[in-house]
Amino acid sequence: MQAWRIRVRGQVQGVGFRPFVWQLARARGLRGVVLNDAEGVLIRVAGDLGDFAAALRDQAPPLARVDAVEVTAAVCDDLPEGFQIAASGAAGAETRVTPDAATCPDCLAEIRGEGRRRGYAFTNCTHCGPRFSILQSLPYDRARTTMAPFAMCPACRAEYEDPADRRFHAQPIACPDCGPRLWLEAGGAELPGDAIGLAAARLKAGEILAVKGLGGFHLACDATNADAVDLLRARKRRPAKPFALMAREEDLARIVAVSPAALAALRDPAAPIVLMPARGSLPETLAPGMAELGVMLPYTPLHHLLLDAFGGVLVMTSGNLSGAPQVIGNDEAREKLSAFADAFLMHDRAIARRLDDSVVRVDPPMVLRRARGQVPGTLPLPPGFETAPQIVAYGGQMKAALCLIKTGQALLGHHLGELDEALTWEAFLQADADYAALFDHRPQAVAVDLHPDFRASRHGAARAGRLGVPLIAVQHHHAHLAACLGENLWPKDGGKVAVIVLDGLGLGPDGTVWGGELLLGDYKGFERVAWLKPAPLIGGDRAQIEPWRNALVRLDAAGLSDLADRLFPAAPRDLARQLAAKGINAPLSSSAGRLFDAVAACLGICPMRQSYEGEAAMRLESLAADTGPVPDLPCVGGAIDPAPLFQLLAAGERPDRVAHALHASLAQAFAAEARRLIEAGQAEAVALTGGCFQNSRLATMTRNFLADQGILTQGRIPANDGGLALGQALVAAAKLESN
């Protein structure tokens, strides 16, 4: 009888792939065996394959991602009668963990149905449920997750052991008899009764609840109740930063305009927050000054039950102290969130690691925050990096995320936050250890940012020293460049690309602060071809908090000092001007982000102080309207001068048109310079990266100006510093090889 060896590569472990193979094989009367090993899934099978190989790809379970199915003829004398699932044995097997996944339709039907899991908040199966958020150590099995304290009941055990069951080897399997328990507590005491019903009633009454979810606690309140929203803002001391919402699919259309692409993103097993145009039916205070709202679907049974009982739209903002990361522990929540929450919807399944909600946009597609549901998935590296050494890269300071590369794959870690925050720093150290274990990683080099005072840079330098491996410091925007090329699988020797990097700040090799650049380069190196004309960053980081500082220097440079004096009468302008003139803590910067701040300040958008990072730029984006003049920004000796924008402002142009002009002029100026490189034959393609390209208006306009060119953009990896580490790793790999 003819026999075959079938190798399946991709995300095929821990997703019910072996029982799927078992069912396929049995339905076709094949004999053989399926097993997990370090390379994925291996099937040894005898008989008439028919469409078996195609079905492996086409009918794969929902959470599987099949990258390759390789069929080779083989001699197999030792195959069993029938078809078997072999226990995992070899070292390195089943070390892959898939991301946490939203409740699947079958499980949702069960909790809404009449069976034993009716109303059970911890229902899950191999197609859904917690994974990375409950993982404590490897290999991934129940004993090494926070489900370990819950002994399976006989009924669950039977499902767990039955290859025909949807819960075959579903590690977090649970039921009301044996699994985690939900309760509502207030004033330190558990309240008797149905926790979900009680919680929903309190939300209806305008209370604020702390809700323990998958990757952390949320603070929830009725999104239609303006008083509740105001109360939450006051308690959290969060005056303006948008609140995320959670809504059932049937309620979406009332609150936002849902495009087909947005719906697909919402329904993804990752269940991210999706930014969509607001319909104006909810209180403006949910996202002051914003044209969009961020909404996610309920993604755990607990959320489904709560929303079903509540029957409306909830605010679901991360439960944290101002500036601190999301709370994950029960005691931690009681201590830190008591001042915010009237009651706690709690459970006794521990959260092993903090995973914020991921945030995406769909037009154009982009990931703003890469976290729950998206990690720890791997990404393929571009051609030419198959043999790159194992490298760990530690990313930036503000939106820290680390990246490991190995055997042609990258593991880009989740969004951690700002590393001076103590809990975030601890999470960074945990992530460093976690991902190394997940990837069985032994770094042969360490990559960091050029900035010596990033905690990540220091950590990397110390680690490289301990390991005795090379430390490679990568310029911030070179790393952005490489991350964008890498995501697009631009070959290592694919030639140079003209890369428009519009960003916040990054230390340049010349000691000034970069952030609005046209670079010509590849993974190995780059040159700076054009840049935003530098202006002093008065007070260093303080300029990021106080937009007027950026406005002042830009207005002065445009010869509009009088206007600056009129616009910012209360600001300490004289001293600021002295600092700028004398260069006292006022480094020159070409930051595009600060130019957005400058224009926003001139238009009266939080001129004196931003209440959260990016507020001015985001409000400016929302304000812009597609009309009006678009001044040309002259480019002299590579320096693109934004002065004409401020002249427009001085001429009394309408705010929405000035806001538009900023986006359009900047896009046009950089696109024109990039085009010249293409036309001169110096660049093979154009790429867009940097935090400013998370502004969809700017991204769309720049794309439009270059519509006839091959454009590389970032869709799956954040264009901001959340994707930086991938670029650092690729640059390091390229540099190591060229040495």
């Binding site: 500036g323 925050e421 103590a422 809990l423 300490p572």
Partner: protein, 340 residues
Amino acid sequence: MALRDERVTLAHGGGGKAMRDLIEEVFTSVFQPPGMEDQARLTEAALAEPGARLAFTTDSYVVTPVEFPGGDIGKIAVCGTVNDLAVGGARPLWLSAAFILEEGTEVALLRRIVATMAREAEAAGVRIVTGDTKVVGRGACDGVFVTTSGVGVIPPGREMAAGRVRPGDVAIVNGVLGDHGATILAARGDLALTSDIESDCAALGHLMADVIAAAPGIRAARDLTRGGLASALNEIAQTAGCGLVIEETALPLRPEVVGLCEILGLDPLYLANEGRLVVFVPEAEAAAALAAMRARPEGAGACVVGRAVAEHAGQVRMRTAFGGARIVDMLVGEQLPRIC
């Protein structure tokens, strides 16, 4: 009086009569009694005590401008070295003073500096017993550089070292932070800034003596100089191998200093001081140490700023007003922008 209204010339460093006149008129006559010798010969009974140890330190002082509200380079040069000795548990006794003078420096300025030094030394109970002068050409130094070395005696049995700090110990500072750094920033000739802030420059030998008497279990003390409280605490945390936690709301900061820092974009935790120290004492002695400090003018603003903990060894954290915790690092160099 031959030197009145003159400026320092290279001849004053030439080794001839001009130099001798300068030294006698400007330096040795002021530092008397009992006079300043080329080589000090000292007797000190305290040294003969069994177990007593000699403390010996040196520091160079450069500051622009040389004179500033609340002091001048001479005051810093005396106080800085006295404080170095004092925080090590020593009783400061003798100083040397070496001057590097830029050609063209006003002699009158020099006289003022020397007068300050004599006054501060007397107040601090130390004698300036030896010294040196060099003159360098224009541009080879910036006005006046001063180097002082100091000798003191540590009594038998007194052990103060950062390594002795242990979890539970309380950290106390003797007054508001950053006044000196803020004063210097504001007084820079090229920054026309009116400010009422004065340098905190002060000798802390007497204050340390009182604190040690009140809190004999004192573990360690550090004077806060360049790099401010943040740098001193990091050094202690790393040496002691324990964590330190400071409370943002407890930090003594003058509103004017906070305001100036906001405009300049600087963190007052890293601003320089010249008359501030942090002491670590066992919790049981904290109240006594605090009272002893507050009884002196240079400790009137003393307060508890934090404590040592067993967690996050080697790391300094600040509990924020909102209840979060931030890591307070030592900086590699200047405060560079980090926000992306």
